[in-house]
């Protein structure tokens, strides 16, 4: 057998084959929300909604669960605090040196370090959480149709579905008020 061409493999990773489906472009928020409701009624679950800004109308309509990012923050913060406590105390006792007649390991000054480490690690792990969840682990990122207006002033909904059912979806979206619908 022949080895897979590495260049090919990488391309397929970064440019996966497009997902089949329908893309609706909306110019109005309420229309988008309406469309979401209709889609959910029609039993569609895993469609993607584009919006230039975050709106909780959309979030509510989608009924999403709370983001898991908060766990990252919590764990990061706690870890940071612990690390802060550890380095200060360990490093003090590793080579005990008296300064100003103070105890070798004096907690009050170390609280400052612990606090700063809490914030530092909390923040960094939050970033990780966002990047991990939103940018890399986002479902079907890059495989679904996209329109550059979505970051400007248009809302969009992409409904993945096999060509056979695309007709209904188109109809549904138009009915909801999409100003433009195209197949992908």
């Amino acid at each position: 057998m022949r080895l897979p061409n590495p260049v090919e493999t990488i391309r397929t990773i970064f440019h996966p084959p497009p997902t089949a489906g329908v893309l609706g472009v909306f110019s109005h928020l309420d229309a988008t929300v309406d469309a979401i409701a209709r889609l959910r009624d029609a039993g569609h679950t895993d469609f993607t909604v584009y919006s230039p800004i975050p709106r909780h109308e959309i979030e509510d309509a989608l009924g999403q669960a709370v983001s898991p990012v908060r766990m990252f923050t919590l764990i990061g913060g706690v870890a940071g605090c612990a690390i802060g406590a550890w380095i200060t105390l360990y490093m003090s006792y590793d080579w005990p040196i008296v300064v100003g007649g103070k105890p070798i390991g004096s907690i009050p000054p170390y609280v400052v370090i612990m606090f700063e480490m809490t914030v530092l690690f909390g923040a960094l792990s939050t970033i990780l959480g966002i990047a991990f969840n939103a940018l890399f682990a986002a479902r079907r990122l890059g495989t679904v149709a996209y329109d550059s207006r979505f970051t400007n002033d248009r809302f969009g909904i992409f409904v993945p579905c096999e060509p056979a059912r695309q007709g209904q979806v188109e109809k549904l979206l138009r009915a909801a008020g999409a100003e433009e619908v195209r197949r992908a």
């Binding site: 005990p96 040196i97 300064v99 100003g100 105890p103």
Partner: protein
């Protein structure tokens, strides 16, 4: 110890390496290790050897111990066996080291060429040239000018001059002619007696600065503090000291009472006191004092009070106290009181001593001072006359710099001299003006001897081989010129053989000689010499008249007093950076001269400190920066002597002004030189920032210096602590102590667990005079950099030991006084400097020091900000960089670096660590001998040098140690104790007679 072998050593050897490894922070590249060819005896690499010799920086002739490491002498300390200084040493003496390693020394013989440029000569050429010159000048008035030489060298010169029909003039700018003449007038002998300060009960100084340059400052200061120190329980515990003079000098600052009598009238005051004593029969007045009746009658306090400017009551009081003390001592004849009538003042003071029956007690003739043998200023004047008259075809100069001390006249006269030969080691003004320079060895490289005081035969031996191979001992030069056999060493020895005959006490000569070498000389007590009032004295006082009022300064022009600088003496110290950077004990100014002006006078002239004024005397004019000081009499000005060199070396040249230029060159009646002159003062409009280390002249009641009146001090019981912090209720006290205890427990880990010493210091402010010998000692011991004038102006001096001088009184009619205290690292128990250091460079050692790890320091300088005592110093530049702009040890000065102390690099904080290197050395020694360090075994450099023994060092945890006892003394207090820094230094409050001198508004 066999010197010959030592001098055979080839190469300074690994000493050089040690010096290198002491330079700069950071590992050195691989270097060569050059072994000795022959290992010298009693020289252990890495361990110091000590040699005894004699200090030749002034006429006092203190005994020295020279510390030698790997063939380099690196420190000078006093020789404890010498009766002159008893192991103590002043700044000038310690700085002799910098004269030895002076980077501007003349390296080899030189002669003036046709076009006046210097030409190097070989010694044979040089000596041949000298011999030739002598041959054709023989018998036509050859003159040899030397400093005071009371030993073999002086004798050699004398005999030689006699042979070739020349004359030998010994010239000391401070020759104390007034004192000698005064003694001659009073007692018929021009001898200078020994003044027994140590056993005096009441001391009155009429302008004698016996702590600065007067005769034998170290010994006299030591004696003074023995008498003046406060010692609980000692009967008549503390002598009273009254200082009479126009200026509050260093000596005056230690006085219990300063009386600024009208200049020139000190004699009247002394006579008035004598009058009171004699007329009141207050003391056992000697019978022959009756001859003085007329004289004294003419000087009743009431008669002289107005002239002196002191109330009669005060004079009477002083007289009564003086007599009642049964141990009065009056001294006079300092340069600052060397008026045209200086001799008369000395006579008057002699009369006072005599009338009080103190002559023979506190004033002891017999162990007379060597200065008796010094030439007089008149001889110098005669010489100048001869020179001008062209009667001097050949002039030889050694150990004197008359061109500087006699600007104008002498240098002009030099032009009329046929040929001038200088034996100076440096290219000073006189050497620069001569035709031939035959560089002498430094006294530390020389064989020689001297007799600083009758009965003291001090010996000089070379403590190291010559730094400059191209120099030669002038004694040897003379011997070779005259074709005499043997070296000068042999010459010295032959003299000592003769001495051995008289004082040998049956020892074999070799033993006698070795013994003398080891002890620095032979010390004997000469028989006391009885003196009686001279017969002239009565006659010289035709009754009624005021014979001793010979001279009064002109009333309209201010009188200027030229004062000898404690650091630069007559200017011979000017090329030593240690002495230049040593803050003047009074003015705290470094590197330049100044003119002292009384605040009221300054206000009248509208000048402030730093304004440059023009001083014009009949003899010359100089531009001088003003320093406004309450420590001087209204209408009197004072300028220090010693600066303003035109040559002499990089540190001395073109620095400030030469006070000698203002002084007259006409001998006074007593054959001396008046150090006072009336001047006209004009503002120049210029201003300069003084290179001073003084921030505030007033202590402002910050509790830095505590003062106790004697009555209270005597009533203090052990256990009392008048200076303890008040205001904390006892329960809080207890709570605080428990808390501190808990803290301490949590800090007793690792190296800190178990028993450790707590190194501590006690400083007795009653003894400390502010002479600053400790400062120079610190420079020498700890490789402190000198930073130069510009940086001192920016307050960047490196002195770990800062002598703070605060003025007291002066307002609301309170008498002006001054208090001094040495301020050094307090080695706090709870040091504010330590916790702020991010890298533990400043930390607490188990034995209670504030360690400062130079190589760990990154230089955040946070510690210095947080030090309330401000005793941390920062290396703003690289002071060790060879050839660098701020180089502090230009070769060969770097040879005096102490290899036991790291030379700090740029960007590093440094500070006093109680000479930790000495502590560790002592601990190593003890460990080798399987014993503990004994109390008193460790002496920091400052404590070792202190002429008044004010500093005591030891272990606070050893309750029997001296320092622990002093720490419990009721007089003890901690500076800024309110900050809870727990300092290791206990200051013992200064005890004063009379009421407390206010230290400030809150004081």
């Amino acid at each position: 110890m066999d010197r010959r072998r030592f001098l055979k050593v080839v190469g300074v050897t690994s000493g050089g390496a040690a010096a290198l490894s002491a330079c700069g922070i950071g590992p050195e590249p691989t270097e060569q290790l050059i072994p000795y060819l022959v290992a010298p005896e009693n020289q252990v690499p890495g361990t110091a050897t000590w040699y005894a010799t004699t200090c030749r920086e002034c006429a006092a002739g203190c005994g020295l111990h020279a510390k030698v490491r790997e063939g380099r002498v690196i420190k000078l300390e006093g020789n404890p066996e010498s009766p002159i200084n008893g192991g103590r040493l002043c700044s000038r003496g310690q700085a002799a080291l910098q004269g030895l390693y002076d980077p501007d020394r003349v390296t080899e013989p030189m002669a003036r060429g046709q076009s006046g440029e210097w030409q190097k000569l070989t010694w044979d050429e040089g000596i041949a040239r000298l011999a030739a010159k002598i041959k054709d000048a023989r018998g036509r008035g050859i003159v040899f000018v030397t400093g005071l030489e009371t030993g073999s060298f002086g004798q050699l010169v004398d005999t030689w001059m006699r042979e070739i029909g020349g004359r030998h003039v010994t010239y000391e700018p401070f020759a104390f002619e007034a004192l000698r003449e005064g003694n001659r007038l009073a007692f018929g002998t021009s001898a200078i007696p020994l003044y027994d300060f140590a056993n005096a009960k009441y001391i009155v100084s009429f302008g004698a600065d016996f702590m600065e340059t007067w005769l034998s400052p170290v010994g006299y200061q030591n004696g003074f503090t023995r008498a003046h120190a406060f010692q609980a329980g000692r009967d008549a515990s503390m002598a009273r000291f009254v200082y009479v003079g126009p200026r509050l000098s260093l000596t005056g600052m230690s006085a219990d009472e300063w009386i600024a009598a009208a200049p020139g009238t000190e004699g009247l005051m002394a006579l008035a006191m004598a009058h009171v004593i004699a007329s009141g029969r207050l003391a056992a007045v000697p019978a022959d004092a009756a001859r003085l009746r007329d004289l004294l009658a003419a000087h009743a306090p009431g008669t002289v009070a107005d002239a002196v400017g002191v109330e009669a009551r005060q004079i009477e009081r002083l007289a009564r106290e003086f007599a009642a003390s049964k141990g009065g001592l009056a001294v006079a004849g300092g340069m600052t009181a060397q008026y045209p009538n200086g001799a008369e003042i000395v006579v008057a003071v002699n009369v006072l001593n005599y009338v009080a029956g103190q002559v023979g007690k506190t004033v002891r003739f017999g162990p007379n001072h060597a200065l008796e043998g010094a030439g007089s200023f008149r001889q110098m004047a005669d010489l100048v006359a001869d020179m001008n008259a062209g009667r001097v075809p050949l002039l030889l100069v050694h150990g004197a710099n008359p061109v500087h001390s006699l600007p104008g006249t002498f240098s002009q006269a030099l032009g009329r001299v046929g040929y001038k030969v200088s034996f100076s080691s440096y290219l000073d003004e006189t050497a620069a003006a001569s035709d031939l320079v035959l560089p002498d060895l430094h006294p530390l490289e020389q064989w020689n001897d001297s007799q600083p005081r009758a009965g003291v035969y001090a010996l000089q031996q070379p403590v190291m081989q010559p730094v400059l191979p191209g120099t030669m001992h002038t004694g040897d030069v003379l011997l070779r010129t005259t074709g005499k056999p043997g070296t000068f060493r042999d010459y010295v020895q032959t003299r000592w053989r003769e001495l051995h005959g008289r004082l040998g006490r049956g020892l074999a000569f070799e033993d006698f000689w070795t013994d003398a070498l080891q002890h620095g000389g032979i010390y004997r007590d000469p028989p006391p010499q009885a003196v009686r009032l001279s017969l002239e004295l009565g006659k010289s006082a035709p009754g009624g008249a005021k014979p001793l009022l010979g001279w009064r300064p002109s009333p309209e022009e201010p009188l200027l007093v030229a004062l000898p600088s404690i650091a630069l003496h007559d200017g011979r110290g000017a090329n030593k950076s240690w002495l230049q950077e040593l803050p003047d004990p009074v003015s705290k100014i470094t590197w330049h001269a100044w003119v002292e002006v009384h605040p009221e006078t300054a206000a009248k002239w509208q000048v402030v400190s730093g304004d440059v004024v023009l001083l014009k005397s009949p003899f010359g004019a100089v531009r001088a920066p003003v320093w406004v000081s309450p420590g001087i009499r209204r209408g009197v000005l004072a300028v220090p002597i010693g600066q303003g060199h035109k040559a002499y070396g990089r540190y001395a040249k073109d620095r400030s002004f030469n006070a000698f230029e203002l002084l007259g060159d006409v001998p006074t009646a007593y054959g001396g030189r008046a150090f006072t002159v009336s001047v006209a003062v004009a503002r120049t409009g210029d201003h300069r920032r003084l290179a001073t280390i003084e921030g505030d002249a007033r202590e402002q009641g910050r509790g830095v210096i505590e003062v106790l009146p004697l009555e209270r001090a005597e009533r203090l019981k052990p256990g009392q602590h008048p200076f303890a912090e008040h205001g904390v209720p006892s329960y809080a006290e207890r709570a605080l102590e428990e808390w501190a205890e808990a803290q301490h427990k949590k800090a007793s880990l690792g190296d800190y667990a178990g028993e450790h010493p707590r190194w501590a210091m006690a400083i007795d402010l009653t003894k400390c005079t502010g002479c600053s010998a400790c400062v120079t000692a610190c420079y020498a011991e700890n490789n402190l950099a000198t930073v130069g004038e510009e940086l001192v102006v920016r307050r960047r001096q490196m002195s770990w030991m800062r002598i703070e001088r605060y003025y007291t009184g002066g307002d609301h009619g309170r008498p002006v006084g001054a208090v001094v205290t040495p301020m050094l690292c307090q080695q706090c128990g709870n040091a504010p400097c330590e916790p702020v250091c991010p890298v533990y460079a400043a930390y607490h050692t188990p034995d209670g020091l504030n360690g400062q790890v130079y190589n760990r320091c990154v230089g955040t300088r946070y510690c210095a900000n947080n030090c309330p005592y401000k005793v941390r110093y920062f290396n703003w530049h690289n002071f060790a960089e060879p050839g660098g702009e701020w180089e502090s040890w230009p070769d060969p000065l770097n040879m005096l670096l102490n290899p036991d102390v790291t030379v700090r690099e740029k960007g590093v904080m440094e500070k006093c660590t109680f000479c930790v290197q000495r502590i560790r050395a002592a601990q190593n020694r003890a460990r080798l001998e399987d014993r503990n360090v004994q109390d008193g075994e460790i002496t920091p450099a400052c404590a070792q040098a202190c002429p008044s023994e004010a500093i005591v060092f030891g272990d606070l945890h050893d309750t029997s140690s001296r320092v622990a006892q002093l720490a419990r003394d009721p007089r003890g207090y901690h500076v800024l104790a309110g900050l809870n820094t727990k300092p290791a230094i206990t200051y013992l409050a200064r005890v004063v007679h009379g009421d407390v001198a206010e230290t400030g508004p809150h004081g």
